[in-house]
Amino acid sequence: MSKPLISVRNLKKYFPVRRFLFAKDYVKAVDGVSFDIYEGEMFGVVGESGCGKTTLGRTILLLIPPTAGEIYYRGENILEYDKEKLKEFRRRAQIVFQDPYSSLDPRQTIFDIIIEGPRYHGIDVGDPEEFVVSLLRKVGLEEYHLYRYPHEFSGGQKQRIAIARALAMNPEFIVFDEPTSALDVSVQASILNMIKQLQKEFNLTGMFISHDLAVVKFMSRRIGVMYVGRIVEIGDSDELFKEQLHPYTRALFSAIPIPNPRVTRSKKKMIVKGEPPSPIHLPRGCRFYPRCPYAMPICRTREPDLMEIDKNRHVACWLYG
C-alpha cells in the first residue's frame, strides 16, 4: 500500500458573518475534516450543495487560508512552510475549476494562459511553443488553437485548456472541482475518459469533487461523503456502492436515480425528511441527528468522529463505534 501523498487532519474553514455590533457568527463550511489521499489514486468527494466540498478543495491547496487543522504533503505540514517551500508546493498542486467560462482569462491567448504558470515558476520547458503544442495535443486540441482566445472555444474545449494549464506545471496532485458539471453528457464522457488516461500517463494523484455520484464512482478509487462540513463516510467506490453504512450515505445513494429504469424503479428509496441544518447554527451532537432514522440519545449529545470500521471503511456514526 502506498503512503499518503496528502493527509488532512481536523481541517476547518470558518467564514465570519457579522451579526450585529460585536457579535460574530461563523459559517462553518469545513468543520473538522480528516482523510488521506494515497499516491497515484483519485479520491472522490461527494455531497450535496452547501456541504463544503468546494471549500475543502480550495483550502487544501491553500487558495483559501484554513482556520484550523493540518495539511500534510509527503509527511510535512504545509502550513509551516516558508515562502520557498510554499511556492514549490503551489507548483506541484493544481486545480481545475467547474466553470470553464470564468476560469480562463478572456484577454489572453491560449498560449499565454498555458505558459504563464511555468514562466512564473521559472521552469525550463525548452521551446515554449513546442511545449504548449504538445500539451494541447495531449488534451485533444490542435496546434492551430495556439493563438486563439477563450471565447472561440466551446465549454468542453475550455475545460481541456484548463486541464492543459494545470498539466503545464508538471504537477503531482490535481484537484478537480466539478469539472464536467456544466457540460453536456457526451462532452462530459470524453473529458472524463481523458482525465483518467492522463492520470495514468502522468502518474497523477487527484481529488475529484462532484455532486454526481455516478461520475465520482467512475473516476475515483475511494470516495468520501460530506454532509454539512464533515466527512461522514469513506470507502472504496465499489464497496461503497454495494453497501452504505452511514444513514446519510444510504439516503443519498438511494435517492440518486440510476440511468437504468429496471434497477432504479425497483430499488427502495429511503426518503429522508427535512433539510440539512444551517452551517451557521449547527445543533449539538451529530449534525444528521434531526433527520436520522436511527437516532439515539447519544447522537444528540456528542458528535461522532470518523472511526475505522474495516480496512478501507471509515464511518462517523455511533451505530458503528
Binding site: 460585536f22 427502495k268 432514522p293 436511527y294 440519545p297
Partner: protein
C-alpha cells in the same frame, strides 16, 4: 463538568458552573462600579452617573446566577429578591436625582475636567467590551447561553459609555453648553435596562408557574427514554431569568453499570431545551422493584434467528424474577430495519433476546439503554426460562 458521587445504588450527577465565571463577572462589575464612581467624583459629569447606574445593574445577573447556583440560597430566594430590589431602587434613585439636579440648575454647564471624563468613559467602554467577551468565552460550552446572559449587561456599559462620551468630548473642545443636554439624554438612556430588571422581579413572583412549565418539559423528555421507569421527584428553581433543575429518576438494576452514560445522555438535551439553566443535579436510582419488558423475536413458537417484525414481549417482575405476562406484538409492518428498531423504543423494551447479535443492532440497543441478550434456545418457552436465568445472573 461532571461530578459523580456513588452512594449505594445511587449516582448523583452534578453540573457545576465553575466559580471562575461568577468570580470574574463580579470582579468586572466591581471594577466598573468603583472606577465610574471615582470618575464622577473627579469630574462631576452627569453622564458618568449613567455609567455608575449601568455598572450597578451588571451586578444583578451575576448575583442571580450565584443565588441559583447555591444549594441553600436557591431554596429561599427572599434574600435574592431583596438584593435585586435594593439594586434597582438605588439605580433609579440615582438617575432621578441627577435628572432633577440638571433640571433644577436649568442645564447650566458645570463640568470639571471634560478631557478626563472623555478618557475615563473610553476606558469604561473598553472594559465593558472585554468584560463581555471574556465572560462569554470562559463559560463552559454546554452553558454558552448563560455566558451570553451574564455578559449582556456589559454591552449596555459599552453602548451607554459610547453615548455618554459625546457630551464631555464636545465640552472638551470648548462647546460646554451642549453637554448638560447630552447628559440628560444619557441619563434617560441609562434607564433602558431598568424596566427589564423590574420585569425580572415580576418574573420572580411568577416563579412557581414558570418552574412548573419547565418541570413538565424535563419530565416529558426523561420519560421518553424507555430505560427511565419513573421520575419520582423533580424540582426546578426559577430565579428571575435563571433556573436550576433537580430531579431523581428510577431505572432498573439491569443498567446499573451504565448510569454515567445515561446521565450524560439526558443532561445535555435538557440544557438545550431550557436555555437559562445554570445547573442540573440529577439523581439516578436503581431498583429491583419494577417490571421489565423482554422482547423475543419469534414466529409462532419458534424463536426467529434474526430481528424481524413479529415478536413476543415477556413482562418480568424483576424483584421476584417471575414472568407476569406475555404478549404477541407486531413490531412494524414495513419490515425496514430502522422502522423495526424504532418500534422497539416505542414499545419500551428493556431487553431484547437475539440468537446472533449484529454489531450495528447492538450499538443501537446500547444507545437506547436496551440490553441485548444472547440466547441459545429455539422455542419461545425455552427462551423464557433462559432469559430468567440470564436476568438472575445480571442482577447478582
Amino acid at each position: 463538568m461532571l461530578a459523580i458521587w456513588v452512594r449505594g445504588m445511587e449516582r448523583r450527577i452534578f453540573d457545576i458552573l465553575p466559580k471562575k465565571t461568577f468570580g470574574i463577572a463580579l470582579i468586572f462589575s466591581s471594577v466598573l462600579f468603583i472606577f465610574s464612581t471615582l470618575l464622577y467624583l473627579f469630574t462631576r459629569t452627569p453622564n458618568v452617573v449613567a455609567i455608575i447606574v449601568v455598572s450597578l445593574i451588571t451586578y444583578t445577573n451575576t448575583l442571580t446566577a450565584l443565588f441559583v447556583w447555591s444549594e441553600k440560597l436557591r431554596r429561599n430566594s427572599l434574600p435574592y429578591i431583596v438584593l435585586l430590589i435594593i439594586l434597582v431602587a438605588v439605580s433609579v434613585g440615582m438617575l432621578v436625582f441627577e435628572i432633577y439636579y440638571l433640571l433644577a440648575r436649568k442645564f447650566v454647564a458645570e463640568i470639571v475636567e471634560p478631557g478626563y471624563a472623555t478618557l475615563g468613559l473610553l476606558i469604561l467602554l473598553i472594559l465593558g467590551y472585554f468584560a463581555n467577551q471574556i465572560v462569554e468565552k470562559i463559560t463552559p460550552e454546554l452553558y454558552w447561553r448563560v455566558g451570553r446572559f451574564l455578559g449582556e449587561d456589559y454591552i449596555n456599559v459599552v453602548y451607554v459609555s459610547a453615548f455618554a462620551m459625546i457630551g464631555p468630548a464636545i465640552a472638551f473642545f470648548g462647546v460646554t453648553s451642549l453637554d448638560p443636554y447630552m447628559g440628560f439624554l444619557t441619563l434617560l438612556i441609562a434607564f433602558m435596562p431598568i424596566p427589564g430588571k423590574i420585569r425580572n422581579i415580576r418574573m420572580y413572583l411568577r416563579r412557581e408557574e414558570i418552574a412548573k412549565t419547565m418541570e413538565e418539559t424535563i419530565r416529558k423528555w426523561l420519560l421518553s427514554i424507555p430505560a427511565i421507569k419513573d421520575v419520582p421527584e423533580i424540582k426546578v428553581y426559577s430565579l428571575g431569568p435563571l433556573a436550576f433543575a433537580e430531579f431523581r429518576v428510577m431505572v432498573s438494576e439491569l443498567i446499573r453499570d451504565r448510569l454515567e452514560v445515561l446521565g450524560d445522555s439526558i443532561r445535555v438535551p435538557i440544557v438545550d431545551m431550557i436555555g437559562n439553566l445554570v445547573g442540573i443535579h440529577a439523581y439516578l436510582s436503581t431498583t429491583r422493584d419494577t417490571q421489565v419488558l423482554v422482547g423475543i423475536p419469534a414466529e409462532d413458537s419458534k424463536v426467529s434467528s434474526r430481528l424481524a417484525g413479529k415478536c413476543v414481549v415477556v413482562r418480568v417482575d424483576l424483584s421476584k424474577l417471575e414472568v407476569i405476562g406475555t404478549e404477541r406484538v407486531e413490531l412494524s409492518d414495513l419490515k425496514e430495519e430502522d422502522e423495526i428498531l424504532r418500534s422497539l423504543i416505542s414499545k419500551r423494551l428493556d431487553v431484547l433476546c437475539l440468537r446472533e447479535v449484529d454489531k450495528k443492532i447492538k450499538n443501537y440497543l446500547d444507545g437506547w439503554f436496551i440490553i441485548p441478550m444472547q440466547i441459545e434456545s429455539d422455542t419461545v418457552d425455552a427462551a423464557q426460562k433462559e432469559l430468567i436465568e440470564n436476568l438472575r445472573k445480571l442482577i447478582e
